[in-house]
């Protein structure tokens, strides 16, 4: 039996026995065939000695069982790694960051505790998937719409905790931004409720996020500090209609103005849906991977010869038809000063969606979970096969035209220099409020090529950091590297995180190493050996 680092076999066996007593024998897994299902199938360490593997897994069904498991682990200093559903493919899946940890699989905690139609909010357990929630909303006749990522098979809680994003309305589609109220089992087994949840008898847990004093919801984002057992979400009332438009410009030089005006309009709430920024002329060959942005005269010549616009901005509107049509008209008026600008209404639907609409729309844009993205390869949309695997590179870049140009060129040039393939590349994804995130999907392999891939990705992380671009999320193999880039004040951010970690989890049992935060006892396992 594999044992966690620093834990002898007898202690580990005793711990598993105690966990069996807490959750039932059939919900503790320590056989290789079972543990195989907790591997990260998109791991860049697949099959190598360093691959991050669970030593066991335990699946509690209630808060009390989670508390019991955590207490067992804390008493014996057994490292644990909670997952909600473990579907975070491309960012680590269900495998622990610290190899040898016991995965605490929360999939059995799948209750939708409350959907409050008047408050437009929900309270759920971590095992509730987006499909579960969608089914609940449909069957209850809810008027609410949720925001879902793509694919939608993950957990609301897990996805929010890792800062996942969807495609709907600002304030909701950055999933952690819509969180209001968390319940978590702390390392000592005690239960914490954040915000108004700390006030017994409060009916406002899912209304007022901050409560009193420091707002602690953020302590659990991408963190190592607790096992989240309940989470509240704000939800969007299903709108009457949706409209999508496009604003296309014909010159390289127009990008700055396109983004500047778009930003002003979004920040002024003139449109509420997720905007898109792209280059039609540079995505002719592959619609999901923008080519290298050439010099201005070259790009303008490409536009002139093809008639395809240089850049496009796609605002989306959710609301009553008469309101969103007026908003669209106003948005168009704000771009009319750009020579050669073109406008098009690219989509309109009344809600609820008709069966015909369901066949033609991108479902996540309407809060409908889907697995269709796994079959994009079969539509001839790139050469993507989900069983091969990929990782995401996701760096926050400046929200400006120059930001897009610089990020595109640096990333494309680095990938070419380092021989790194990309099958998807979008330099300006807008799930998160006021942000551009450069997204690149990097294929991973199971045949020995991953060592080069890891070296190349680490070099790109450093290159991006030298430009001031940091990843907001990454696979476990790169968490230390990414956190290393957040180095202001001699890595004060990491050091404060470590101080909090050591204070709240002195035995270092929860999610050691996640996002580069290691407890004192395991700090030497950091990629730099734990140097300050």
């Amino acid at each position: 039996m594999t044992t966690p680092p620093g834990i002898d076999a007898a202690t580990f066996a005793d711990g598993l026995a105690a966990m069996r007593s807490a959750v039932g024998d059939e919900w503790v897994f320590d056989q290789p065939a079972d543990l195989n299902t907790y591997r990260d199938f998109y791991s860049v360490l697949w099959g190598e000695p360093e691959e991050k593997l669970a030593s066991a897994a335990v699946a509690p069904a209630s808060v009390e069982e989670v508390q019991a498991v955590v207490r067992v682990a804390n008493e014996r200093r057994i490292p644990i790694y909670p997952i909600s559903t473990g579907r975070n493919l491309g960012y680590g899946g269900s495998a622990p960051v610290l190899s040898g940890s016991v995965v605490v699989d929360l999939k059995r905690m799948d209750r939708v505790i409350e959907v409050n139609e008047d408050n437009c909010s929900a309270l759920v357990e971590p095992g509730v998937s987006f499909f579960d929630m969608y089914r609940h909303l449909r069957e209850s006749g809810s008027k609410l719409m949720m925001s879902v990522p793509d694919p939608g098979w993950g957990s609301l809680v897990g996805n929010a905790l890792d800062s996942g994003g969807g495609y709907t309305v600002a304030g909701y589609r950055g999933h952690f931004e819509a969180v209001c109220g968390i319940e978590a089992v702390m390392a000592d087994g005690e239960l914490l409720r954040t915000g108004m949840g700390a006030l017994p008898g409060s009916e406002t847990w899912q209304q007022y996020r901050m409560g009193l004093g420091p707002c602690l919801d953020g302590m659990f984002r991408q963190s190592t500090l607790g096992v989240v057992t309940k989470m509240g979400f704000w939800m969007f009332p299903t709108p009457e209609a949706w409209l999508s438009g496009s604003v296309s410009v014909m010159r390289y030089e127009d990008l700055d103005e396109l983004v500047r005006v778009a930003n002003e309009l979004e920040y002024g709430n003139l449109f509420n849906g997720m905007p898109g920024f792209s280059s039609p002329v540079l995505t002719q060959e592959n619609p999901i991977a923008m080519a290298m942005i050439p010099e201005p005269e070259v790009m303008n010549r490409m536009v002139a010869e093809s008639g395809v616009p240089a850049w496009s901005f796609s605002p989306n509107f959710y609301g009553p038809e008469r309101v969103i049509r007026e908003q669209w008209a106003y948005v168009k008026s704000r771009f009319e000063h750009i020579p050669g600008v073109q406008f098009a209404e690219t989509g309109f639907v009344d809600l609820p969606l008709s069966p015909d609409d369901m066949e033609r729309i991108h479902k996540p844009r309407f809060g409908i979970p889907s697995l269709e993205i796994f079959s994009v390869g079969s539509r001839g949309y790139g050469n993507f096969n989900p069983s091969d695997g990929h990782i995401w590179f996701s760096a926050v870049i400046p929200r400006s035209g120059q930001g897009i140009i610089d990020a595109n060129r640096v990333m494309r040039a680095e990938c070419e220099r380092l021989g790194l393939d990309l099958f998807m590349f979008a330099p300006a994804v807008t799930c998160w409020t006021r942000s551009f995130v450069l997204f690149a999907a990097v294929p991973v392999y199971k045949d020995g090529r991953n060592e080069h891939l890891r070296d190349a990705v680490r070099e790109i992380i450093r290159t991006c950091a030298s430009h001031g671009w940091g990843e907001y999320r990454c696979p476990p193999a790169f968490m230390d590297d990414v956190m290393e880039a957040y180095s202001f004040g001699d890595h004060k951010l990491r050091r404060v995180n470590e101080q909090i970690k050591d204070a709240l989890d002195p035995n270092g049992i929860i999610s050691a190493g996640r996002y580069g935060v290691w407890p004192e006892r395991y700090r030497h396992l950091r990629r730099d050996g734990g140097a300050a």
Binding site: E26, A33, T37, F41, T85, R87, K107, F131, R135, W153, P369, S370, L371, E372, F374, S375, G377, S378, R379, G380, N383, N385, P386, S387
Partner: protein
């Protein structure tokens, strides 16, 4: 853990499935509760007389899983055979694992690839005590 009853049930099917598309359906009454067919592959429509329920989809498993399999997989039993693309199998296997099931047989089929996707035949059966019949 697979019960003896389930083992016998799907175990009898495995050898017969090796002959490919038509062989799979000939074997179906021996132990499967349903078949899942990916209509992207040639021959997929040639199953009109299959003696077990046949579920069809074309690459995207969302609807067939959400409408049919999710609810069925929450209850004990149900052995599912399929001929699908490897991409769809990856998704189904992940979903099935979450619900206490395992792929107990899989084989690449000698069928023409569709958009570079390999056709696979497979069986997913209950594994965890909570869903074994």
């Amino acid at each position: 853990m697979i019960s003896r009853r389930d083992f016998v049930k799907w175990g009898a099917v495995v050898p017969a499935l090796g002959t490919g598309w038509h062989g799979a359906f000939a074997a179906a009454p021996q132990g499967l509760d349903a078949m899942l067919v990916d209509t992207r592959f040639p021959g997929a429509l040639d199953v009109a007389d299959a003696p077990v329920p046949v579920l069809r989809f074309a690459g995207d498993v969302t609807n067939v899983w959400y409408d049919r399999l999710d609810a069925r997989w929450r209850r004990p039993g149900f052995v599912l055979g399929g001929i699908t693309g490897s991409d769809a199998l990856f998704v189904l296997e992940t979903l099935a694992t979450h619900q206490g099931r395992r792929v107990v047989s899989r084989m690449a089929l000698d069928l023409p690839r569709v958009n570079d996707v390999q056709a696979m035949r497979w069986i997913i059966a209950p594994h965890h005590k909570s869903v074994t019949a």
